[in-house]
């Protein structure tokens, strides 16, 4: 293996992984905290991407600047969705059916969002070119937009990690992840925190979408593969484990990139579903368990 090829795989893998990290962190926040397995997670990535696309092509806004719009908007939508849908299911309080019901709820959401997007934007591929200038790095060439997108994604992920570690709100979130009942006992407003964390998860997904829109063409179907990837990362890294998600995302990015180099790009989807099935089978129920 030549140095250039190695650099190609490592840099390619890390940039892919950086993007995975942000979307996976959002999913981890939702599932880790409130046991809502949100399969519509990737749909918000898709919506974020389309929002950035529209803002950029219609109003000429620089894609990176659109993050300032997509992220808060997605946060608000997430909080509203939690209040409107998930909180109601959680409030009925039947412990066992809860996870299956919130799962069905998010499948319903997936259908609504995906087909809504199809009605608005049609099934055609759309895209724009931004920062497509080549950058030389360790003997290989990468488009600048990829480095920027991965850099911003990694920065946001790390910033969120630091926020969880350092701030009082972050402490409350970690307390809720580790010991839900104890957190209630010491006076944490669980309902409010749940809604905000759900919103934050959605916001991360949408932010990833804004970044991804700089790299690939958009379709209303682009969300689900990211949901599956995020699911694999969360399973790999551990439930509620922020650093684990980061490491898992980078690892998955590297493995995928190497696998695509070794075989063909069709294998990528098979690999991610395969890994997901395998992990589920090998570590049933204990996987997400504490």
């Amino acid at each position: 293996m030549t140095g250039a090829l190695l650099a190609d795989i490592v840099i390619g893998g890390l940039t892919t992984g950086g993007i995975y990290a942000l979307v996976a962190l959002g999913l981890n926040l939702q599932y880790g905290l409130m046991r809502v397995l949100n399969v519509a997670h990737g749909e918000f990535l898709m919506l974020g991407a389309y929002l950035t696309f529209t803002l950029h092509t219609s109003w000429g806004m620089p894609p990176l600047l659109t993050l300032l719009i997509t992220t808060p908007a997605a946060f608000a939508v997430g909080v509203a969705l939690h209040r409107l849908l998930y909180a109601r299911v959680l409030a009925t309080g039947e412990a066992g059916g809860l996870e299956a019901r919130s799962l069905l709820l998010s499948f319903g959401l997936l259908f609504v969002l995906q087909n809504g997007a199809l009605l608005v934007w049609s099934a055609d591929l759309q895209g724009y070119s931004y920062l497509a200038t080549p950058v030389r790095l360790f003997g290989t060439v990468f488009p600048a937009n990829r480095m920027v997108a991965a850099g911003v994604a990694l920065f946001l992920s790390l910033a969120f990690y630091v926020y969880l570690r350092r701030s009082l709100a972050g402490k409350a979130v970690r307390a809720l992840m580790q010991e839900p009942d104890g957190a209630r006992l010491i006076g944490i407003d669980v309902a409010r925190l749940h809604a905000r964390c759900f919103g934050a998860g959605i916001a991360m997904s949408a932010a990833t979408g804004s970044l991804v829109s700089m790299l690939f063409e958009l379709t209303p179907f682009m969300g689900l593969p990211y949901t599956v990837t995020a699911l694999v990362v969360v399973i790999l890294g551990g439930l509620g484990n922020v650093l684990g998600s980061l490491a898992g995302a980078l690892l998955l990015g590297l493995v995928e990139t190497a696998a695509v180099y070794a075989t063909s790009s069709d294998i990528r989807v098979i690999a991610s579903y395969g890994v997901l099935s395998l992990i589920l089978v090998l570590r049933p129920s204990g996987l997400f368990g504490r």
């Binding site: 066992g96 087909n115 009605l119 069709d266």
Partner: protein
Amino acid sequence: MGCCPSSWSCGPPVSLAARLAPALGLVALAAALLAAPAGLSSYHRALTFAILADVALAVGWAMFSGPSRYLSLATGAFFGLGAYASALTVSRAAWPIPVLAGAAVAALLALAVGLLALRLRGPYFAVFTFGLAELVKHSLIWYETSVTGTVGRLIMDPPGTLALYYTVLAIAAAAVITAALLRRSRWGLALVGIGADEERAETLGIDTVRVKIMTFALSASFLGAVGAAMAPRWTYLDPQVFSPLVSFQTVIMALVGGAGTLWGPVLGAAFLGLAGEILLVKFRYLYMLALGLTLILVVLLLPQGLAGLGRRRS
């Protein structure tokens, strides 16, 4: 269901006339469906055909997932596998054989999956079965493009529409009869026990693994048979037949009607099937959007029906 588990096997005593009425209704329905091809236009015959297929899917799905509360999203995989089995055998074997082949292949996959996945509970089982359908689809796409060099398969000399109509009618009838018999059997009761409390069922001496796997396979065989009977209608088959839409539509039909009852899935399938066949072609995205909304509303407004699907466990 949920509030009164005993309603599974017994009800209040009813008079003879009240008992005969549904039976007579059934006979009338069966006669109407048998005679339907003669009296209907080809469009309405196709519509009835599609609705019967939906009924068979919903009843077949609810056979396992209704009482056991294991939410299976693998319907698309069994359906697609049945369709492929049929496409591969239809020109080589006499007609009902491809349907049996489809049923057998789906049942075999269900046995294999059941051994692996029925240890999973709640959303893990749902996610696994969903992933399974996608895994089979993408593996098939990969296999077709890289090994056989094709994308889809042409179906040569399919059986006539009349034969297909009666095939689907027979499958739907068999599904309803099997589901009815299952509900009355010890096997069906064991399944309800598993749905109510799996540990307790096990403690009571039920071989839960065997009951779950066998019923899963039985249910899958109906889903595969429907796929096999539907395939000749399309003349051309590609891996997109492993559509998650089939899985979800089936779940929604059964849930809207009531997955825990015998006739719920039939009604749900007839209602949504009719709406779907009319709307899907003209307003595909709008219809699927409405389907998603229906699912959300059912979850929020009919919680008892849905709670039945989750593993009751704290």
